[in-house]
C-alpha cells in the first residue's frame, strides 16, 4: 500500500434499519494517492456519504480495512479517531456547518485552538492568510448568518485548510449553493490542490461539478462501477461521466 494516503480494502458497511440491514457499501476497494483531486460520484443512495464518512474517521466499516494517513481506523478508539480528524483531516460539509456563535475569524481559528500549541500571533497570521486566500478578508468579523451560501462554504474551506491537513473531505460541497458559485468553489479547491498538494476527496452527483475533478470514482448501489484512475485516463469525463449522466438522477 506504501504511499497511498487513503486506502479502502474490501470495505463493507451495513446499517441496521429496524429488523432489516441496509447494505450501504458492499465491498469497495479504493486507493487514493497523496495530492489527488478526486470526486466520488453516483446517484442518491449509492454510498458516497458512507464512504466519505469512513475515510473521514467519523464511522468505521463493518468489515474490510480503511487506512487513513497511515492509520487503520478499524483498530482505533474514539480518542485516536478524534486526534486523527483533528490533525490529518479537514472537512467541508454540504451545509457548511459553521459555528453560528463565532465570527468568520473565530470559525477558521477554531481547529487551531483545538490543536493548541500555537501562539496567538502565529494563529492570527495563519488565519488571516487563509481567509485572504478564500477571499473573505473583508468579512472576518461577520457571523455566518451574515454571509451568503458561497461565502459560508469559503469559510468552511478556510477552516478545513487552516490546520494544513493531509486530506480534505467534502461531502457534496456545492449542493446547497447555485451552480456558478459551486463551480468557483470547486475551482478554489482545485487551485489549493495545485498549490499545496492537499489531497481532496469530494462527493457530488452533479455532472458539471464532477467534470472538474481529475479522478472520478463512480458508485452505484454500494459498489464502484467505474474509476477513471483505474481506467487509465487521467482526465475527468469519459466513461465515468457518461455512465452517471445515463442515470436519471435529479438534483434535490
Amino acid at each position: 500500500m506504501s504511499s497511498a494516503i487513503v486506502e479502502l480494502n474490501d470495505v463493507i458497511k451495513d446499517y441496521p434499519l429496524g429488523k432489516l440491514t441496509v447494505h450501504a457499501v458492499r465491498g469497495v476497494s479504493i486507493r487514493i494517492e497523496k495530492g489527488e483531486f478526486t470526486a466520488i460520484a453516483g446517484p442518491s443512495g449509492s454510498g458516497k456519504t458512507t464512504i466519505l464518512n469512513l475515510i473521514g474517521c467519523v464511522d468505521v466499516p463493518t468489515s474490510g480495512k480503511v487506512s487513513v494517513a497511515g492509520s487503520l481506523t478499524n483498530d482505533l478508539g474514539d480518542r485516536a479517531l478524534t486526534a486523527l480528524r483533528l490533525h490529518k483531516l479537514g472537512f467541508i460539509f454540504q451545509s457548511f456547518n459553521l459555528i453560528g456563535v463565532l465570527n468568520v475569524f473565530q470559525n477558521v481559528e477554531f481547529p487551531l485552538l483545538l490543536q493548541g500549541g500555537m501562539s496567538k500571533g502565529e494563529r492570527a497570521k495563519r488565519v488571516d492568510r487563509i481567509v485572504e486566500e478564500v477571499g473573505l478578508t473583508a468579512h472576518v468579523k461577520h457571523r455566518p448568518n451574515e454571509l451568503s451560501g458561497g461565502q459560508r462554504q469559503r469559510v468552511a474551506i478556510a477552516r478545513a485548510l487552516v490546520t494544513n491537513p493531509a486530506i480534505i473531505l467534502a461531502d457534496e460541497p456545492t449542493a446547497n449553493i447555485d451552480s456558478a458559485t459551486g463551480h468557483s468553489i470547486i475551482e478554489l479547491m482545485k487551485q489549493i490542490n495545485d498549490e499545496q498538494k492537499t489531497t481532496f476527496i469530494f462527493s457530488t452527483h452533479d455532472q458539471k461539478v464532477m467534470e472538474q475533478a481529475r479522478r472520478i470514482i463512480l458508485l452505484k448501489d454500494g459498489v464502484v462501477v467505474d474509476d477513471n484512475a483505474q481506467n487509465g485516463d487521467g482526465q475527468a469525463s469519459g466513461a465515468a461521466g457518461e455512465k452517471l449522466s445515463g442515470t436519471d438522477e435529479v438534483e434535490e
Binding site: G56, T82, R85, L86, I99, L102, F110, L114, Q115
Partner: protein, 693 residues
C-alpha cells in the same frame, strides 16, 4: 490548553447570549434560588443568634450541665412539666471548681427549678385584719369603714350561697351558711360589736371567715439560683421594682411578665389585654368576639375592684366616676358602666383605671416587700412550706413583652434547696419512722402533685366559690405541715456552693468557641469523675431552642424542593438546548473536538451562568438584608419577641451565608447540567454530516 480554554469561554458567552430563552430561564431560577437561600439562611442565622442571646443571656448561659444519671432531658423552656427526673448535682462546689478551671469558662451558676404555690389574698381575712387593727387602735372611722366592707362582703357571700342553694343536691350546708351570714347582715350584730368588739371578732373569725373563699391559689415557678452570681452573669436581667435580694439573705424576685400575666388583678389584666389589642395592634373591640367577651368579663369582675377598696376610697372613686361618666348612681353601677368600654372611650378609661383605681386596690397578689408562704411538694414527696420575702420585680431587657422570658421567678439557692427538700439517708430513715408513728401513708409524688396543683389551671380561681376540694386544700392544717419562717435567715457563699443543685449554667468568655469549650468541659468532667452531661443552650432550652432547628429543617426542605424543581427545569431546558445543538456539537467533534471539550463547554456554560445570575441573586439578597438590617423586622407576637431577642430583629447577612448560597446554587446547576452534558458528549461526529440548517 489555555487557548482551548479561551475558545471555551468565547463559545460559552456567545451561546449564552444566542440561546436567550434558555439562559433567561436557567439564570432566573439560579438567581431566585440564590436569593432565597441567602435570605433564608441569613434570617435563620439571625433569629438563631438573637434567640441565642434571649436564651443564653436570660437563663441558660451558653452551656448547661446536669447529672449524667438524669432520666429525662433538661428542657428549661417548655416541655418540662413537673416531675422530670433530671437528676441532682450533689456537690456544686466541686463542679464549680473543676468547670471554672476550663479555659473560656467565665462562670458557673447553680440552678434548680421549683414549682410551688402560694395563697392569694382573701378579701374577708384582709378586711378582718384591718378591722382588728382599727379596733386595737380605737380608730372609730377605720372601724366603721371595715364594718361596711365586711357587710358588703357578707352580702356578696350570701348571694353566692343562695346561688349554690338553688343547684346543690344537699342544701343543708348552704342553708346553714346562709343563716350564719344573715346574723352579720343584721344591724343588731354590729351594735353589739361596738360594745363587745372582742366577742364580735371571735364570731367573725370562727363563724364567718371559714365561709369565705380560701383565696386564689397561685402557682409559682421559680428558678433557684445563686442570685448574686445570676445578676452578675445574665446581662439581660434587670430589677424594675424593689431591689435585689441582698447577698446572704433569703428571698425571691417576681418575674414581671409572669406577674402581669397571672398575678395581677383580673380587671387590670383585662385592661392590659385590651390595651395590647386595641392600642398596640390597632384592633377594634366592636365586632371582635374575643375582645367583646373580654369587656364583658371585665364588667362581671367589678367586685374585684369593689371589695378591694376601703369605703373611703370607694366614696372618692364614686365621685370621680360620676364625673367621668357624667351620670350619678351607686358605685357598683357606675363601675359596671365604667368597665363596659368601647373603642371610643377605651384609652381614656384605661388611663383612668391606672390613675384612679389601681392605687386604691391591690393590683398584684404579691407586693414587693410582702412575705408569703410558699408551699410545695419536695422531691421526696412531702409537703413543705416556707415563709419568704419578695424583694422586687425583674424583667429581661428587650424581652419585656415575651411570654417565654416570663417563665421563672427567681429564688435564692438555699430556699430552693429547702423547697426541693432533698433528704439525706439519715433524714429519710427518720422520716419513715415518723410516718409509721403518725400513720401517714407515703403519698406518691404524682398523687401529691395532683392534690396540690389540681388540674392544669395555672393560677386563677378568681370568683370560684368555695367548694369541697378547695377546702381540702387547707394543707397546712390537714397535713400538719409546719410552715418554716426563713425570711430572717442568712447564709454564706460557702453554703450556696456546698450543696445540691439540679443543673448549672456555664457562661463563656467567648461564646463563639462554644463547641471546643464543650469538648474541653466534657474532658474535665470525665477526668474528675463528675458524672455530668453538658448540653448547649439550644438543647437545654427544650422545644423552644429546637424551634430554630425545626425552622431550619423546614427551610432546607423548602429549598430542597425548590432546587429539585430548579434541577428539573434546568435539566429540561438544557436537554432541549442540547438537542438543538446536536449539529453544532457533531461538527465540533468531526473537526476534532474531544468529548472532554464538549463536556467542559457545557459545564462551563452553566457554571458561568450560575455565577453571574447567582451573584445577581446574592446581590439582591444582600440588598434586602441590609435594608431589613436597617429598618428591622417587627416582632408581631410574644413568641417572636423572644426569637428576635427584642421588639425587632435586625438581621445580618454573613459572608458564610453568601458563600454557602453561591456554592449550593452552582453545585445544583452543575448537577442539573450533568445529564444534558453527558448527552452532548454522546453526540457522534457523524451527526455533522446529517445536518441541515
Amino acid at each position: 490548553m489555555i487557548s482551548s480554554l479561551r475558545v471555551l469561554l468565547l463559545l460559552t458567552f456567545r451561546s449564552l447570549f444566542s440561546h436567550k430563552a434558555k439562559s433567561l430561564i436557567v439564570g432566573g431560577i439560579i438567581a431566585f434560588g440564590t436569593f432565597l437561600l441567602i435570605v433564608g439562611t441569613s434570617l435563620l442565622d439571625s433569629v438563631e443568634a438573637s434567640m441565642e442571646e434571649s436564651i443564653t443571656e436570660s437563663v441558660t448561659g451558653q452551656l448547661q450541665v446536669y447529672s449524667a444519671d438524669a432520666r429525662d432531658a433538661l428542657s428549661l423552656f417548655g416541655g418540662m412539666a413537673m416531675g422530670e427526673d433530671i437528676g441532682e448535682i450533689d456537690d456544686f462546689a466541686k463542679v464549680k471548681e473543676v468547670l471554672e478551671a476550663v479555659p473560656n469558662v467565665k462562670s458557673v451558676v447553680p440552678m434548680g427549678i421549683n414549682n410551688s404555690t402560694i395563697m392569694g389574698g382573701n378579701d374577708f381575712d384582709r378586711v378582718l385584719g384591718e378591722l382588728q387593727v382599727a379596733v386595737d387602735t380605737s380608730d372609730a372611722a377605720g372601724v366603721s369603714d371595715s364594718i361596711e366592707q365586711l357587710r358588703n362582703l357578707a352580702a356578696y357571700m350570701a348571694s353566692d350561697y343562695e346561688n349554690r342553694l338553688a343547684i346543690a343536691a344537699d342544701p343543708t350546708e348552704s342553708q346553714e351558711a346562709l343563716d350564719t351570714l344573715k346574723t352579720v347582715q343584721d344591724d343588731a350584730f354590729w351594735t353589739d360589736f361596738k360594745l363587745h368588739p372582742a366577742k364580735g371578732m371571735r364570731t367573725l373569725e370562727t363563724k364567718i371567715a371559714p365561709l369565705s373563699d380560701d383565696g386564689r391559689l397561685l402557682f409559682l415557678r421559680s428558678l433557684g439560683t445563686d442570685l448574686t452570681a445570676f445578676a452578675k452573669n445574665f446581662d439581660r436581667f434587670e430589677i424594675i421594682e424593689g431591689e435585689r435580694v441582698p447577698e446572704g439573705k433569703r428571698g425571691f424576685l417576681l418575674n414581671k411578665r409572669l406577674d402581669d400575666r397571672f398575678m395581677k388583678n383580673i380587671v387590670a389584666r383585662g385592661f392590659d389585654s385590651l390595651h395590647k389589642s386595641v392600642v398596640e395592634d390597632g384592633d377594634k373591640i366592636e365586632g371582635d368576639a374575643k375582645l367583646e367577651a373580654l369587656v364583658a368579663q371585665n364588667v362581671r369582675q367589678y367586685q374585684r375592684i369593689l371589695f378591694e377598696m376601703t369605703p373611703a376610697d370607694g366614696r372618692a372613686l364614686r365621685t370621680e366616676l360620676a364625673r367621668l361618666l357624667d351620670e350619678d348612681g351607686e358605685l357598683k353601677e357606675l363601675l359596671k358602666t365604667f368597665l363596659d368600654v368601647d373603642d371610643d372611650n377605651f384609652l381614656e378609661r384605661y388611663t383612668f383605671f391606672y390613675d384612679q383605681i389601681a392605687p386604691k386596690i391591690q393590683l398584684h397578689e404579691i407586693n414587693v416587700g410582702d412575705t408569703v408562704t410558699m408551699r410545695t411538694i419536695t422531691s421526696s414527696g412531702y409537703f413543705k412550706a416556707i415563709n419568704i420575702k419578695c424583694y422586687g420585680r425583674f424583667q429581661f431587657k428587650g424581652l419585656e413583652k415575651s411570654d417565654l422570658s416570663g417563665m421563672f421567678n427567681l429564688i435564692d439557692m438555699i430556699s430552693y434547696r429547702d423547697l426541693y427538700g432533698m433528704m439525706t439517708d439519715e433524714q429519710r430513715a427518720e422520716l419513715s419512722q415518723l410516718k409509721e408513728d403518725v400513720g401517714v401513708k407515703a403519698v406518691k409524688r404524682e398523687d401529691a402533685e395532683a392534690a396540690l396543683f389540681g388540674g392544669d389551671g395555672p393560677v386563677e380561681s378568681a370568683s370560684t366559690p368555695k367548694d369541697k376540694s378547695h377546702r381540702d386544700f387547707d394543707l397546712d392544717s390537714r397535713l400538719k405541715v409546719e410552715v418554716q419562717d426563713v425570711s430572717g435567715d442568712t447564709f454564706t457563699q460557702e453554703e450556696i456552693d456546698h450543696g445540691m443543685a439540679r443543673h448549672a449554667a456555664i457562661l463563656l468568655e467567648d461564646p463563639e468557641r462554644i463547641d471546643e469549650t464543650q469538648v474541653a468541659l466534657e474532658a474535665a468532667i470525665a477526668k474528675n469523675d463528675l458524672n455530668l452531661k453538658v448540653v448547649d443552650w439550644q438543647e437545654a432550652s427544650g422545644i423552644v431552642g429546637q424551634f430554630v432547628i425545626v425552622f431550619r429543617v423546614v427551610l432546607y426542605i423548602a429549598i430542597a424542593i425548590i432546587f429539585l424543581v430548579a434541577l428539573v427545569i434546568i435539566n429540561n431546558s438544557m436537554v432541549m438546548a442540547t438537542v438543538d445543538r446536536i449539529g453544532e456539537i457533531g461538527t465540533m467533534r468531526a473537526i476534532g473536538a474531544k468529548r472532554g471539550f464538549v463536556l467542559a463547554m457545557f459545564l462551563l456554560e452553566t457554571f458561568s451562568l450560575g455565577m453571574c445570575t447567582g451573584t445577581l441573586g446574592a446581590g439582591a439578597a444582600v440588598g434586602l438584608m441590609f435594608w431589613l438590617g436597617k429598618v428591622g423586622i417587627p416582632a408581631t407576637t410574644d413568641v417572636l419577641v423572644f426569637f428576635f431577642g427584642g421588639p425587632r430583629l435586625y438581621p445580618e447577612v454573613g459572608m458564610i451565608n453568601i458563600l454557602f448560597g453561591l456554592v449550593v446554587i452552582v453545585l445544583v446547576s452543575l448537577i442539573s447540567t450533568l445529564f444534558p452534558a453527558w448527552i452532548a458528549t454522546r453526540v457522534q461526529p457523524i451527526e455533522a454530516m446529517q445536518r441541515r440548517d
